[in-house]
Amino acid sequence: MAEVPFRGGGFAPRDIPAASVGTLVGLVLLWQAGASLHWISTKFLPAPWDIARALYALAASGELWVHLSASLQRLAIGWAVGTVAGLVVGLVVGLFTLARSPGMAVVSALFPIPKIALVPLFIIWFGIGEGSKVITLAFGVFFPTVINTVAGVDGVPRNLIRMGQSFGLGWWSIVRKIVLPGALPAILSGFRITTSTAIILLVAAEMIGAEKGIGAFVLAAGNLYDTDNLLAGIVLLSTIGLVLSWVIGRMEKLLLSWR
């Protein structure tokens, strides 16, 4: 008689929050150790400690806040404009036959364009000031938002909508109480993509004709081969990304607790 061997293991990865922080801290420590032990030349790659000092100097001189606030403002406005427009268009395309095919055709044609390539065009249209930068971000955020919203609306179980109709709920009630909440998970996971898209476009737009902003700062540092400050700027961008992704995670926990 043989014991029945166990075959049911694996395929169930778990999240360990401490391990994600631990990994990032560990990598930075390793990097610092490599620099301190002269395994990594700080000419080629500044040590974390140098970057931290550069960041501290920026904060102390007040320069940090000038760039950070300029960038965050553009990010907030551009993302919000693109998101709101994308949600509205996505909802219309998702709900109306008349809008569906034309809308999806336009979105599919414009979505793959690298938005960075359009920055000069936006500068001609909207001037070199804030307008062209915000529009670049909004434009980049708009398309993925439309696509995610349409997918979310399509994914709302048909039987729930029919339930609403059979109980005589009005059109707007069905949209507000059934379609939108049903599409929310897809919309929120789209936010993860659009926030990173927005950060990438922010830097690109700020590298073309801006005095203030993290993108402009990184470009200036790069032109001077000031790698400490260059990486300080990169660290700031990465931090913004981490914070936004944490915020979206909180929103999901809060709004989707019913799942």
């Binding site: 039987n159 059979s166 109480k177 799942r259």
Partner: protein
């Protein structure tokens, strides 16, 4: 409880989905307060017929008539109970019931009172704040019933409401349904493929043929719902008769190719 007394009739109803002829020349009458049960082999058009009854699908031929008095407190005359419950997962039990009252002119207090009342009636008072995902299948369908009763329907349209449940839960809910339907006095159209359910609830059991569905036979059971038990000899005899009627059709339907 409700003062509605509604007669629901199909006159010469026929329907096809594309080239698939599903219903053909169906005439049916559910008298006020009567329970009509529809049985027939799977795919014969029972759900389609129920959609037509409730105005959720426009038949290609024939028409549906509703006659009689709808009570003044009725908010939705033709009301469904669904096989898959159709609860909003993002609303609590009370929220799911309240949903169907929110578009009405009821005051918030009156709405809350109605929600409370139907939750008590279906034994859900302790679950008012629960999410649907926290409930068993039986409890979810009780929410479906509570939601339907909250609008004080004149007609209840139930499409295999017990099919998604295990046998034990089904037995319990069947008796609760019988009691609630009898008490509310609503005209009811109840679709099932379970013959025990048919004889427990039906005052008129309509046997449909294989697709395209036609009325093959109507079996009347004149005993009041309250005194019935699925093991009663006369009900078992009717059940056997029904089985004899649909057996061959069911076997044929089972071997049919399903397209679309």
């Amino acid at each position: 409880m409700t003062g509605s007394a509604v007669r629901l009739a199909l006159e010469g109803v026929g329907h096809a989905f594309g080239t698939l002829k599903v219903l053909d020349g169906v005439d049916l009458v559910a008298e006020p307060g009567e329970v009509m049960v529809l049985i027939g082999p799977s795919g014969c058009g029972k759900s389609t017929l129920l959609s037509i009854f409730g105005g959720m699908l426009a038949p290609q031929a024939g028409r549906v008539r509703m006659d009689g008095a709808v009570a003044p407190d009725c908010l939705n005359a033709l009301t469904y109970v669904f096989q898959d419950f159709a609860l909003l997962p993002w609303r609590s039990v009370a929220g799911n019931v309240s949903l169907v009252l929110e578009d009405s002119a009821l005051s918030a207090a009156e709405r809350a009172r109605r929600v409370e009342e139907v939750l008590a009636l279906t034994g859900l008072s302790d679950f008012a704040g629960a999410w649907p995902k926290q409930l068993s299948g039986g409890m979810r369908q009780r929410v479906g019933i509570a939601r339907a009763l909250a609008v004080r329907p004149a007609v209840l349209l139930m499409d295999e409401p017990l099919s998604a449940l295990d046998a034990q839960t089904r037995g319990l809910l069947l008796d609760e349904f019988a009691e609630m339907i009898a008490r509310a006095g609503v005209t009811t159209v109840y679709v099932t493929h379970n013959l025990a359910e048919a004889v427990r609830l039906g005052q008129q059991v309509v046997v449909l043929s294989r697709r395209p569905g036609r009325v093959r036979e109507i079996v009347r059971i004149d005993r009041p719902l309250a005194g019935r038990h699925i093991e009663d000899a006369d009900l078992l005899a009717i059940e056997q008769h029904l089985w004899a009627l649909i057996r061959d059709d069911a076997a044929l339907a089972d071997r049919e190719r399903v397209d679309g």
